[in-house]
Every structure is written in C-alpha cells, then in structure tokens.
C-alpha cells in the first residue's frame, strides 16, 4: 500500500478549516499498522453541512478529491465511548494530488438521515443504496434509493447491531413449491 497516501494531509485540513470556521471538524488520525497516522486523517462533519463541505473538498484546488473511493457506515451501538449511533464514512481520494482523507458524519435513531452526495460524485449512487439497504440510513436527495442487496419487501436492515444473525423469519417466509405445483 505504499505510495497511495504519500503526501501529508495537513494543507487540506488547513484549507477546509479556514473555509468553514464555524464547523468543528475535530480531525483525528486513524491508527493502524498500515498507515502512518499523519497520512490518514478523519474529519467530522455535521449532516446538515455535508454537501457544501464535500463540494469544497472536491472543487478546491488544494483538496481536489476527484474520487469517492469508499462510502460505508459503522453502527456504534454499545461501542465503548461512542455518543452517536451511526457513523456514515466517506473515503476520499485525490488522484492528482495523491492524498486521501476520511469524512465521518454521525447520525442517530429514530430516523437517521444524511444528504446524498450523488450530485457531487456520481459513484455514490450504489454505495448509498447499499448503506440504505443494510443500515437503514436515508440519503436525502438520492434519486433512486431502492434496496440493492436484499430484496424488495425484506423490511429490515441486517447490518445493524441489533438485528439478529438468524433474521426475523425472512428466510422461512417464502413461497413453497410442491411436486404438483411445478
């Protein structure tokens, strides 16, 4: 993985903090064996400010995150020290400037909702549908927010921590085929 995030990310953080002085981004470093902590930083963005921050991150010449490399979600239910339940996570990659940044957007029950970024990165389309399907987070402004992995009428969001592994009877509730019905 060497070379994917060679440049320090501090200029990006400086730029975005200067552009949005009213937002507390609270940048923190991701720690892992693979990355040096200075290279992999994460910003917190409140959901209602997400579109303008994302648009800035994409279009500002110091940031230039042309690519949304990942869009996922974490359920922090019963996670030690967590104050919010869902963390919608965006992984941004700049191919021209060779740097990456992570953006996290925390939302809560009962109706977790974040603005869609499909108007900024077209590639967010299916990723947002997946997060909607598995975590039940609504993406406001998504033009086609249907389930993508489970089937229509499934009615649950199985990657939530409080969803039982064996389901709530979805796998048993299915059309039966006898010898005479075929």
């Amino acid at each position: 993985m060497s070379g994917t995030s060679a440049k320090p990310i501090q200029p990006v953080i400086d730029a975005v903090t200067a552009a949005f002085p009213d937002i507390d981004f609270a940048p923190f470093a991701l720690r892992s064996r693979r990355y040096a902590s200075e290279e992999q930083m994460c910003l917190r963005v409140p959901p209602d400010r997400l579109p303008e921050v994302m648009r800035f991150l994409r279009e500002d010449e110091r940031c230039a995150f042309e690519q949304l490399s990942d869009l996922t979600c974490v359920d922090y239910l019963e996670f030690p020290g967590a104050t919010d339940r869902y963390g919608v996570t965006y992984g941004l990659l700049s191919l021209s400037l060779e740097h990456r940044i992570w953006v996290k957007c925390f939302v809560n029950d009962p109706e977790p909702e974040v603005p869609s970024v499909t108007t900024i990165w077209k590639g967010a389309d299916w990723q947002e549908r997946e997060v909607w399907d598995l975590f039940g987070i609504k993406f406001r402004g998504h033009y086609d927010l249907r389930r993508i992995l489970t089937w229509e009428g499934f009615g649950a969001h199985p990657l939530r921590k409080d969803y039982p592994l064996r389901g709530r009877g979805e796998r048993e509730d299915f059309e039966r085929l006898g010898r005479d019905s075929a």
């Binding site: 089937w151 592994l165 064996r166 048993e172 299915f174 039966r176």
Partner: protein, 193 residues
C-alpha cells in the same frame, strides 16, 4: 391385487388372470422405459459453491459419471431431468432455483447435494435457506461437506433405483420415495493420542 412382474403364480378368476397378463405386459413396457431412463439421466448442475467443484470432479475423467449414464450436463432446464442442487442457496437464489425446477420437463428428480443445500450447513444466517427441501421437492440427500465424488455417485445410483421402480405397481403402492438418505461412503480416521 398386488400382482406384477413378480406377482402370484396363479389367479383366482379369469378376470384376475387376464389383468395379471395385462399388467405383466404394461409392467414390462414400463420397466423398459425406466431402464432406459435411469441409464440416461441428464443432470442440471445448479452449482453455487464448493460442492459444484466436486460435481465437476464427478463429471470429469477420474470419477467419470458417464459410467452411470449421467454425463450429459445441460445448462438449460428444458433438456434436463435431474436437478443437482450443489451448494448453499441464498433466499434470492431460491426463486431462481424454483423457476429452473418448474421449467424442467416431467419426469424429474432432485438431488440435494451437500450439507448446505440439505440443511444450510454452517451458514445459519438470515440470508441463507436452511435446506432447499423447505421450499421445493427433494428426492435424494447426499451428505458431506462437500461430498466426495463417490458419495455423489451413490446419490445418482439412489436416483437410479427410484427411477427403476417409478410407475411400477409395487412402487406406486409405497408412493414415490422421498427423503431417502444416502449413507456416507467415506470414513474419516481420527488419530487419538
């Protein structure tokens, strides 16, 4: 009456005698039909997981399912009469499996191959069907994870025994065999120290 090809040596009346003669002829035709059918099973390989690899191995030269007349694998259900469901089936796939089963022409038989197709196996999650027999008919269950080719061949032979007795009087009285279990042919040696 209970008379067939292996029926009673004498008849009580003239009518019974004639019926016996008639059933002898129809049984003979049926037997011939079954004999040709059982030796030319055309399997539909519904292989979704590692059981499919064993199914391919069974079809390949080393184990050679052609010895049992079942080598003509067809990927269209219209030409098949033996569905081999090999591997775990997700609920979204179950609809496909049912549709393929419905498209197969009668008469048709189903082998549920391996632990996953028969019971769900280790995949006890919301998305995986816990045994395809919950949602469609199954004739023979082949145990194993995955089954060895010998075990699958034993399963095909069990289907052949079903086909052999299909429609004959002795078998119609019993009804069509459902839920037949094939014994595993391979014993695993465990060293105890």
């Amino acid at each position: 009456m209970g008379l067939g090809i292996s029926g009673a040596p004498f008849a009580a009346s003239k009518e019974e005698y004639l019926a016996t003669k008639l059933s002898y002829v129809t049984d003979l035709i049926k037997q011939t039909e079954n004999w040709s059918r059982k030796n030319s099973l055309w399997p539909m390989p519904f292989a979704t997981a590692c059981c499919g690899i064993e199914l391919m191995a069974t079809g390949a030269s080393r184990y050679d399912i052609a010895r049992f007349g079942a080598e003509v694998m067809r990927f269209t259900p219209r030409q098949c009469d033996l569905m081999i469901c090999a591997g775990r089936v997700a609920i979204k796939t179950m609809r496909v499996l049912q549709r393929i089963y419905m498209q197969m022409a009668e008469p048709k038989w189903v082998i549920s191959m391996g632990a996953c197709a028969s019971t769900g196996g280790v995949f006890d999650t919301y998305a995986v069907v816990q045994g395809v027999d919950q949602f469609m008919p199954v004739d023979v269950y082949v145990p194993g994870c995955p089954p060895r080719p010998e075990t699958l061949i034993e399963g095909v032979m069990a289907i052949q025994r079903l086909v052999e007795s299909e429609g004959l009087r002795s078998s119609t009285e019993r009804g069509r065999g459902l839920g037949m279990v094939v014994e595993p042919t391979v014993q695993i040696q465990v060293d105890k120290e």
